[in-house]
Symmetry: C2
Subunit: 167 residues, 2 copies
Amino acid sequence: MSYSIGQVSKKLGITVDTIRYYDKSGILPFVKKNEIGRREFTDNDVHLMRTIICLKNAGVSVADISKFIDYRLQGDSTLNERYQLLEEHRKDLQQQITDLQDTMSYLKFKEWYYQTAVEAGTEEIHFVPNTNEVIPDLADEYSNHLKETGQVDEFQRFSNVKDYRNR
Amino acid sequence: MSYSIGQVSKKLGITVDTIRYYDKSGILPFVKKNEIGRREFTDNDVHLMRTIICLKNAGVSVADISKFIDYRLQGDSTLNERYQLLEEHRKDLQQQITDLQDTMSYLKFKEWYYQTAVEAGTEEIHFVPNTNEVIPDLADEYSNHLKETGQVDEFQRFSNVKDYRNR
DNA sequence: CCTTGTCCTGGAGCCGACTCCAGGATATAT
DNA sequence: ATATATCCTGGAGTCGGCTCCAGGACAAGG
């Protein structure tokens, strides 16, 4: 009951080259080869590779994943280290998500900026009269717009934290 | 009222080298130089650069940002194009966030896996007896655990969508 | 037997996004 | 006047994560 590299490639949605690259990089030490040198993946191997891909998706580098896999090879004595590592990366991931959500708020603000500009037919509605400068506290105007249309002002929080506003 | 490259670097939290790299890459065509060839950034320039950094944070490539900036130089006739571009990238970003949240669910599952293993002192509690194989429907057990402890089962949705489960 | 398909290795190439010079000009502080 | 800081350009180097050969082995179908 085992799979070839091509089958695993399809199963996991990554190329065979990528799988070989991972193996070269030492993060697939558990994958065994048969008599004629071909890789044979067990269900368990595939399972582990899903975890690896998950870590990769979380932005963990191949080098760090390698650390995790090394621990695994050492057995139960490293359970705690592995737990710590995962926790660290989970916190990291949480930060990433939060950052992206902030970016999203800003993008939405810019979308509002352009949507209103498109409606007006000109960007000038956002400029200080007779200049090419954007109105300094345009962000406040946007916040008002959010309030008026009954939307949650996630942007307020964001502009305080990040100082993305124009001062 | 203008800033040197060093001042902007501090203001935006990116290196002067990065700013020069952006300029070389053509995404800062609005930055002017003074008589002796030094860059002078206006408030408006800094404002625009925040937008650029926002797009970068959203995972937009320098090449794509360049497209946006080119449109901007063409004036009001491209307002709609710019709006479309932002919308596209916003959708993209939303997908990214959703993906990361899925990854987060899986990471939490793995954390549970290791926390319980640490408590038990061995990983074997998750194996099929007398093998080194992980219990096939361990994910269900985790779902139960979530239910029992009154947590929202974001994992269920996730495992259906992504087939990250072991079958 | 020959073709087609899948696999192997080692190593080169590529891409994006920086990052780091060398060599030179100007500015500021003492 | 000298030292230190900041700026400039052009171009080379780095790094991670693939991606793509070349050259060769074996397997299965017609």
